[in-house]
């Protein structure tokens, strides 16, 4: 197989006497959708936070493109091309779609107005946002300046994914993207995920929804007791297999109990 784009080895994170990550490993290959599943408290969010820069592991190594990296903040991970769509979406409800797309990386005007007076290039930002949204088939949103709070849940998720896809050149991490959505809206978000992969960007999908995981994932990383238990191919295992491994009811082949 090819070299993993993003990998982690022996990550350890302790909070006092609680060990959230106990020598956890992780591999993401180019162009794939990797689902990460695990019971509550299995430590998957710590793992994801370590990769996205929100948490700094006590031990272990993270490599991006084979190069060791360490992220002191989500901002640094973002600069390295790792974008995270949080479950809460991290959108500002009262601000416009365009403002949200560019939050923290606004474009300034050319010339004196931009340089000396910090004037934003709103036309350029609006045009870019519109283009990114229509690339992902989200053009049901008519007004790029409408506040995010006037959008439906699915549309908001769409904006958050579009923001990640627009700037995340290497990896996109999606945390429970369908948890708060209805059936129809979940469908659109899953299509959106497949669409992003088709453009060559690998995705890490954290989800509790087994049907969604089995539908879109290329590989499934099962996390248990703070470490990677195994990685399974969704075509060779059933959902009940996955749940059994996750909960410890069964031990997958080739894993020492």
């Amino acid at each position: 197989m090819t070299q993993p784009l993003l990998s982690a080895r022996n990550l350890v994170k302790r909070y006092g006497r609680v060990t959230a990550m106990d020598h956890a490993d992780f591999d993401l290959y180019p162009g794939e959708i990797l689902a990460v599943i695990g019971d509550n408290g299995a430590g998957k969010s710590s793992l994801i936070k370590a990769i996205s820069g929100a948490v700094q592991p006590d031990e272990g190594e993270i490599r991006l493109d084979g190069q060791p990296v360490s992220f002191a903040s989500p901002l640094e991970a973002r600069r390295a091309g790792i974008e995270t769509v949080y479950q809460t979406l991290a959108l500002s409800p009262a601000l416009s779609i365009s403002d949200n797309m560019f939050m923290g990386r606004e474009i300034k005007r050319d010339g004196i107005m931009g340089k000396w007076f910090g004037m934003l290039d709103k036309p350029a930002m609006d045009a870019f946002s519109r283009q990114k949204l229509s690339e992902l088939g989200l053009m049901t949103i008519q007004n790029i300046n409408q506040p995010v709070e006037t959008l439906s849940g699915g549309q908001r998720q769409g904006v958050a994914v579009a923001r990640a896809a627009a700037f995340g050149s290497r990896v996109i991490i999606l945390d429970e993207p369908t948890a708060a959505l209805g059936v129809k809206e979940s469908r659109r978000v899953l299509d959106l995920i497949l669409d992003v992969r088709s453009r060559g960007i690998p995705i890490v999908l954290i989800s509790h929804n087994m049907p969604h995981v089995f539908e879109v994932a290329d590989r499934i990383h099962i996390h248990r007791l703070g470490r990677r238990l195994c990685v399974i191919n969704p075509k060779e295992h059933t959902m009940s297999d996955a749940v059994a491994y996750m909960t410890g009811a069964r031990v997958p082949e080739g894993v020492a109990a």
């Binding site: 959108l91 500002s92 934003l120």
Partner: protein, 351 residues
């Protein structure tokens, strides 16, 4: 629906009720959406209506002279409201703005008169002190994570005490200022503009609002101020260094308070440590009536300017109509409550 035995509803319940509800929701909904988009329209409408109403009641009200007098009267509190707006936009509140203003005016006056420091330097030092008070408030809010209300309740008292200590509770008289530091009274100087008599303090207030409007709508900093006020966690996850934004807001606010201090010396004519005791609450009043949400992230910066004018118009109009002063307070009180009620209603909008 209600279970009252209304004969009309009882006869044809589903149809009558349904139609009525549908109709009223349509219009109200449109109004709600309109105000959600243009939150400044509420204070604008109130201002226009009150100007027209008071103009009809007392003919003197509508003279250029009286209208410009209102502007002069609100100039100091209006400038202070600009400082207050910034903090409230970040979902905070600054109870110390009035105390900072008075303390800085004392510092400017003392340095110029008692210590013989050239007036421009005294003013500069005053502005730096304003920024420092903001830095203190900002540090307490961002580093110690204290609620802004408590932080500024504390610093309000501290700055007030320092103000009495520095001034010895003594007023620097107008004549002394004229002789030794006339520049401190600059913003009280008047000029004519087609029958209206304005002070430079009025221009300062308008300039401060214009600069803030530009900064909030056309720079990245402004968008971040709104984002931090709207949802600080979301802003942080989106890559905004929220503490830095908050710190800058408190410091800019402190500098504006210092500008208001300079302006207040011109307005009062002297440096008085006991003046503007209620300025902090008056500034909050202007901001709230101006339609900026106390929950942060919502409202236009031009609202508080209009809010300050509304209070000025009510005070002037009621006085000209010969009404007892207590009714000015009464009217202001209702304006605040109505403004907040409208804000709550507008905020209910989502999808």
């Amino acid at each position: 629906m209600s279970d009252s035995p209304d004969p009309v509803v009882a006869r044809n319940p589903s149809e009558t009720v349904a139609r009525f509800e549908h109709h009223s929701r349509g219009t109200l909904d449109r109004v709600q959406h309109f105000l959600h988009r243009y939150p400044t329209m509420v204070p604008v409408i109130v201002l226009v209506l009150s100007v027209v109403a008071f103009g009809l009641i007392s003919p003197n009200f509508f003279s250029a002279f009286n209208l410009s007098l209102i502007l002069q009267q609100v100039a100091v509190v209006g400038t202070l409201a600009a400082a207050q707006s910034l903090v409230i936009l970040t979902a905070g509140i600054d109870l110390s703005v009035g105390a900072v203003m008075v303390m800085v005016s004392v510092i400017m006056g003392k340095l110029s008169v008692d210590f013989g420091i050239p007036v421009p330097f005294s003013i500069l030092i005053g502005l730096v002190c304003g920024a420092a008070t903001g830095a203190l408030n900002g540090a307490l809010v961002t580093r110690l994570k204290l609620p802004p209300f408590i932080t500024t309740l504390g610093t309000w008292n501290i700055f007030l005490a320092l103000n009495y200590y520095l001034s010895n509770r003594e007023t620097i008289r107008s004549q002394t200022l004229d002789a030794e530091a006339p520049l401190l009274k600059f913003f009280g100087e008047r000029f004519n503009l087609g029958g209206a008599v304005l002070t430079y303090g009025v221009l300062l207030m308008i300039l401060v609002f214009a600069v803030l409007w530009y900064a909030l709508y056309h720079t990245a900093w402004g968008r971040r101020v709104y984002a931090v006020g709207d949802d600080p966690e979301a802003a942080a996850l989106a890559g905004i260094q929220t503490n830095r934004v908050l710190m800058s807001v408190y410091m800019v606010s402190g500098v504006i308070c210092a500008l208001a201090a300079w302006s207040s010396i011109g307005r009062v004519g002297s440096v008085s440590p006991t003046s503007f005791f209620e300025a902090n609450l008056e500034s909050i009043t202007a901001v709230v009536i101006g339609g900026i949400s106390l929950f942060g992230g919502r409202g236009s910066i031009l609202g508080p300017l209009i809010g300050a004018l509304i209070v000025g118009v009510f005070n002037s109009g009621l006085r000209l109509a010969g009404v007892d002063v207590l009714w000015q307070l009464f009217a202001t009180g209702w304006l605040i409550i109505i403004a907040v009620a409208i804000d709550q209603w507008i905020r209910k909008i989502s999808s």
